[in-house]
């Protein structure tokens, strides 16, 4: 992952200087990460829009990207802010999408696991700060230090948020054992 990171950061720097080829590589190398991050922070149904928004923001600020952190965590930080802004905008106006529809997109995720849907529900039920720490470290596989950069908080905060998220999930799973049982062949939902 270290080599990857160095390469991605190099692409980001080149893209900041106006190299469109490097920008395309940068996007292709990171888009799955970003999509997963926002899908689990907000909802899979809105992942594409939010990913696109993230990249549009990132491209605008790429010229000022100075590689103080790796391009991947820099980008995920932008994704996180995009998600936060999205939530803020969504709560400031009446909700038009009923909650049940949020998870009604099994095909786009190509999932064979019923558990994924349930797990997703449980994740989305977590408080936002715990969810982002948990998703960044568990789903994206970032280290605590990287997650701290993404979330803009101290490493210790990430550590305690991940632990709280685990506690919440343990409690939630006890009430919903389907989340850890695999049920192949069943339709999602």
């Amino acid at each position: 992952m270290g080599d990857d990171d160095a390469e991605i950061t190099a692409w980001a720097l080149a893209a900041g200087r106006g190299d469109r080829e490097a920008a395309a590589r940068f996007i292709r190398a990171t888009q799955q990460h970003v999509r997963r991050f926002v899908a689990h922070l907000i909802s899979p149904a809105e992942a594409d829009d939010l990913t696109q928004e993230t990249y549009l923001r990132a491209m605008r600020s790429l010229p000022s990207f100075a590689a103080r952190s790796s391009a991947r965590t820099w980008l995920l930080g932008i994704a996180r802010r995009t998600a936060v802004d999205h939530v803020r905008a969504a709560t400031s106006r009446p909700r038009t999408v009923p909650l049940s529809e949020w998870h009604d997109t099994p095909d786009t995720r190509g999932s064979g696991f019923d558990g994924e849907v349930v797990l997703n529900d449980l994740l989305l039920a977590l408080p936002a700060d715990r969810r982002e720490a948990f998703v960044a470290t568990q789903v994206l596989g970032l280290s605590y230090a990287e997650a701290a950069e993404v979330c803009g908080c101290p490493v210790g905060t990430i550590r305690s948020r991940v632990a709280r998220a685990r506690e919440d999930l343990v409690v939630a799973v006890e009430g919903n054992p389907r989340a850890i049982r695999r049920r192949p062949g069943s339709a999602a939902g």
Binding site: M1, D4, G18, R20, A23, A24, I27, R28, Q31, Q32, H33, R35, R36, H40, D48, T51, Q52, Y55, L56, M59, P63, T108, R109, G110, S111, G112, F113, G115, E116, L119, N120, L123, F134, T137, Q138, V139, L140, G141, S143, Y144, R159, S160, V162, A163, R166, E167, L169, V170, V173, E174, A179, I180
Partner: protein, 267 residues
């Protein structure tokens, strides 16, 4: 230390982020605390399940008990083209070029203004023999040319400061610069002016070229100015290029060769 804090350490341990000292202490605590042992098992199960079902293909794997690659992510559309297409291509060039040109123009305008004012103050006898000393002693002509210098400087400053389209200034400046160049060349040939005197016209010519450059459609400041989103495509639909399709004769449905009834009103 309460179980709450131990569980934070246990959680860190699941991610491989604990310190060696914490690991030893936590192990000791687990030996004595059944509740935490149960919790730790469950947390590990949840973690494993989360990583199995939700994790990415290329992530690091601190506990090494989950297969890294579970399902392909090929179903996700490639955003690179979409995002790049949404970016304005000429924006970077424009953003760098236009402010530079504009500052240059402002400098030249200011210089031109100072030159003109100095010319007013100095009078024709003080500095350069402009070749007019002999006959007319032309104080007024000198002032007139000073006024021109001031006017041109003011025009340059205006264009630089206001970001307005430079269109209206172009014909006048073109004629002025063109005439001046021709006349200067003529004067140079007939020896009526020193070459050093012509150097000051260099500012004018440079400023003129910048104004021409700024009036190029791609650099024109009437686009999304400054820090706007700049999302607009670089091309524009020129409606006047499209020939107005207004055929004067229109064929009505009973075309030649098609079957028709004799009475057209019945058709």
């Amino acid at each position: 230390m309460g179980c709450e804090q131990w569980r934070e350490i246990l959680s860190a341990q699941l991610d491989g982020e604990e310190t060696p000292a914490e690991r030893i202490a936590a192990d000791a605590h687990l030996d004595g605390c059944v509740a935490c042992r149960v919790w730790c098992d469950r947390a590990a199960t949840v973690t494993r399940r989360t990583r199995l079902t939700l994790s990415t293909a290329d992530r690091r794997d601190p506990t090494a008990d989950t297969p890294g690659r579970l399902r392909s992510t090929a179903a996700c559309p490639d955003l690179a083209d979409v995002v790049l297409a949404a970016l304005p291509v000429p924006r970077r060039l424009r953003d760098r070029l236009v402010p530079g040109l504009r500052t240059g123009l402002a400098l030249i305008g200011a210089l031109q203004l100072v030159l003109g004012l100095a010319q007013v103050g100095r009078g024709p006898a003080a500095g350069h023999a402009h070749g007019a000393l002999d006959t007319l002693a032309s104080g007024h002509l000198w002032h007139e040319s000073a006024a021109w210098n001031i006017a041109v400087g003011a025009g340059f400053l205006f264009v630089a400061a206001r970001r307005t389209p430079t269109g209206g200034l172009l014909p006048m400046l073109s004629a002025f610069v063109g005439a001046l160049v021709l006349l200067s060349a003529n004067d140079l040939v007939t020896g009526r002016v020193e070459p050093t005197r012509l150097v000051s016209h260099g500012f004018l010519v440079t400023g003129y070229l910048i104004v021409v450059a700024l009036s190029r459609p791609r650099l024109r400041p009437d686009g999304p100015a400054g820090r706007g989103r700049g999302d607009r495509p670089a091309w524009r639909l020129r409606t006047d290029d499209v020939p107005a399709a207004a055929p004067t004769v229109r064929l009505l449905p009973p075309y030649a060769g098609s079957a028709r009834t004799r009475d057209r009103s019945a058709a």
